[in-house]
Symmetry: C2
């Protein structure tokens, strides 16, 4: 049987999983690839660090040049995180004639056009199924399985860390900080979870999916995003009282030929599929103009789900499918203009949930609701809690919690309402504003 020599650069959690699949299940990968995927090298920074995979002698090295210099290594799983040296390693691998498989979505989000242009110039390929939504093969599904469709919308829970934290808060009734600590303890959040909880990670993934699904060329920093770090346990409680769960939702939707893109904690009616995505799971719902809605649910991250995506890419690359897709679809190409432009985020339509702590004085509610009227955002429901039932801190400050749900209006109006209410002098602290998903 033919043999394709493979290397892994970066033998962390995912890399060890990839090594295990290649070493322990060679028969399986050979059946799908029509050739043996032979693990030739695994590059690590520290040879002495303990690992959870046993490698045959001679595979482990701390010298990445050994991979660049071996012309027999055809495909490399690039599993180095962050931007540098990840970018330089990717460039060197391509220049050395390797096809590359990567899980690094931050690298693609920031350097996709540069790296893919280089790969095309050198006649190489980059596969990146593992970069978005771990165990859900959403990249292949969008670029290949749904290729007969014009995609109308795509929405997803793309950050498993945030979803785990929200699930903990919702189910255990614990505060945000406590849920973050639990997520770190269980390995679902990194020591510095900023990129996860502030919505950056989800925005990077959304930028990649919006490129593939809509032909958008968007810097993820342009995507309006709110993270879960702005949430209070009270928001989850009030949402639950109203029949909603709160999820960090990434949305892309074509409206009048322009693309709405945003990432934000969103109230979603319970008992609907996206509201029932729990723990570190991810989900994506795609609506195509031919296929209608297709819903995917699977593990968002973790060693083996991500390794599954990496090895599927190694197989696709060894078989040659990756090359065919890469050459026809030209991902991250900036040679053609974007097929779609973004809508002004002020025009994004939406329904909103506002939570604020209003001073318990006559005229306060009239002043607040007046702001809604001024910005022509109509109010769907108001819940003002009795001070006796409110939390201790509100009561102590002479405040009552006030929740207002709006009807549909523009994002700009929603933002203006929140800002103007904050400036009125009748509320304490920030006004929390969240999107509410239409059923």
């Amino acid at each position: 049987m033919q043999k394709t020599k493979v290397a892994i650069v970066g033998l962390g959690t995912v890399g060890s999983g990839v090594a295990r699949l290649l070493l322990d299940h060679g028969d399986r990968t050979a059946r799908h690839a029509g050739r043996t995927l032979w693990l030739e090298r695994a590059v690590v920074r520290d040879l002495d660090k303990p690992r959870d995979v046993d490698l045959p002698a001679g595979i482990l090295t701390d010298d990445v040049e050994a991979v660049y210099d071996d012309p027999e290594i055809a495909v490399v799983a690039h599993l180095v995180g962050g931007l540098e040296p990840a970018r330089t390693i990717m460039i060197r691998l391509l220049e050395a004639g390797k096809d590359v498989v990567t899980a690094n979505k931050a690298l693609l989000a920031d350097h996709g056009p540069e790296l893919f242009t280089l790969a095309r110039k050198l006649g190489r390929t980059i596969a990146f199924e593992a970069s978005v939504a771990g165990g859900i093969p959403i990249i292949t599904n969008i670029s290949q399985c749904l290729s007969a469709n014009g995609i109308l919308s795509l929405e997803g829970i793309l950050n498993g860390t945030s979803n785990f934290i929200l699930s903990q808060m919702d189910r255990q009734g614990v505060a945000y900080s406590e849920a973050v600590a639990e997520a770190q303890r269980l390995g679902f959040a990194e020591a510095d979870p900023t990129m996860d909880v502030d919505g950056s990670d989800a925005a990077q993934k959304l930028a990649i999916l919006a490129h593939l699904a809509f032909g958008a060329q968007v810097d993820w920093r342009q995507i309006p995003r709110v993270g879960i770090d702005s949430l209070d346990i009270d928001d989850l409680r009030y949402a639950a009282d109203l029949g909603y769960a709160i999820k960090l939702l990434a949305e892309a939707k074509l409206v009048d030929g322009k693309l709405d893109l945003h990432v934000s904690p969103t109230l979603i009616k319970r008992r609907t599929p996206l509201a029932e995505v729990h723990g570190a799971f991810n989900a994506v719902r795609v609506v195509g103009d031919a296929v209608g809605p297709v819903f995917y649910h699977g593990q968002g991250a973790g060693q083996m789900p991500t390794a599954s995506a990496v090895v599927a890419d190694l197989i696709d690359t060894a078989v040659g499918r990756t090359r065919l897709t890469f050459e026809t679809l030209e991902p991250f190409s900036t040679a053609s203009p974007p097929r779609v432009s973004l809508r002004n985020s002020d025009e994004l339509p939406g329904r909103y949930y506002f939570r604020l702590r209003a001073m318990d004085h006559p005229g306060t509610l009239a002043a607040i609701t007046g702001v809604f009227g001024k910005h022509r955002l109509s109010i769907a429901s108001v819940l003002q809690q009795d001070r006796a039932e409110a939390d201790a801190s509100s009561a102590a400050e002479d405040c009552v919690p006030l929740m207002i749900m709006s009807h549909e209006g523009a994002e700009g109006a929603g933002r203006a309402v929140a800002e103007e209410i904050e400036s009125l002098g009748v509320v304490r602290g920030h006004v929390t504003r969240l999107r509410v998903k239409n059923p």
Copy 2:
């Protein structure tokens, strides 16, 4: 731009949808295929029949030989249902040097090995995404996206007609026959819905998926199957009282290295994903040993969802991906022995729901429960309705409805219990026995 000439044989509902995608969205298919997919011919039986798609002059023909004889037609969407002349047309197309895309699962289930062997001999390919689960691209997901996994189990709602009928019965409270009539009226069921409602269609699809996912080589007629035609509206009501929905579930599961396969109406806990699949939708849940559970939900049939799958296959075939997958995976090959054997269906483990109409005499319940004891199937719960509350027909016949849920036991024991109770002379009519899904 390069051009690949395509023909459609069979311009029914799906064929018209395929024609529309090719004619109206040529830019889209060209972008994904890297070449124009040019609709050259569409073969129909009756040229005068009205159709819901406008074809340019010269495309429509009632002479399939025009396709065989045109060497420039490279790929053909074979959308003729049934076994003959579908089989002969497929053979003629392959012999004429065409790559074929088909939606005909009955043809594959009965003649897969013959047709695929011929295609391989002739250096041609057959793509069949549209043959299972319409809008859910489950064939590509199993053969390509999840290729790093050993599949542990696969379960699905694969027959949209049955699911539509069950949803009608459950939500509208209508009888089986009425729900069938409604499904026919709305085009979700054919004039003769036998293959759908007796579980044959789901068994054919399960045979195809079990082949791809587990390497099984199984005649669909071997798969133990029960259809929804055995159900009574009372079953749905009692199941609802117990917190369950009833769905026609197709299951494939590896247990101790052997494959359990069956199709049967199954009680599934409400608020779980499979229980919440409504109307003509399909769903598939696959568990891989690396990726864990992945859940797919989409439209099971219908013009455009199925056309979406056919056109994706046309694109894959034109690009060349189909050939690579076909050559490495060798679907429906009988050259190698099956990778898995089937478990004896008597050994299938399961929990069961029994419904019967017991005579309202002393000793009846003792006699019935005694049968469970004899076959060592333990009883989890019993619900005997008061005669005053029972339906009129039971009351008139001096009977009371009795529902018994068992703990887990073997399929053989479940069947023996039902048969022996029927022979006791203390029940009227059949004993209905359904599987209960473990949560």
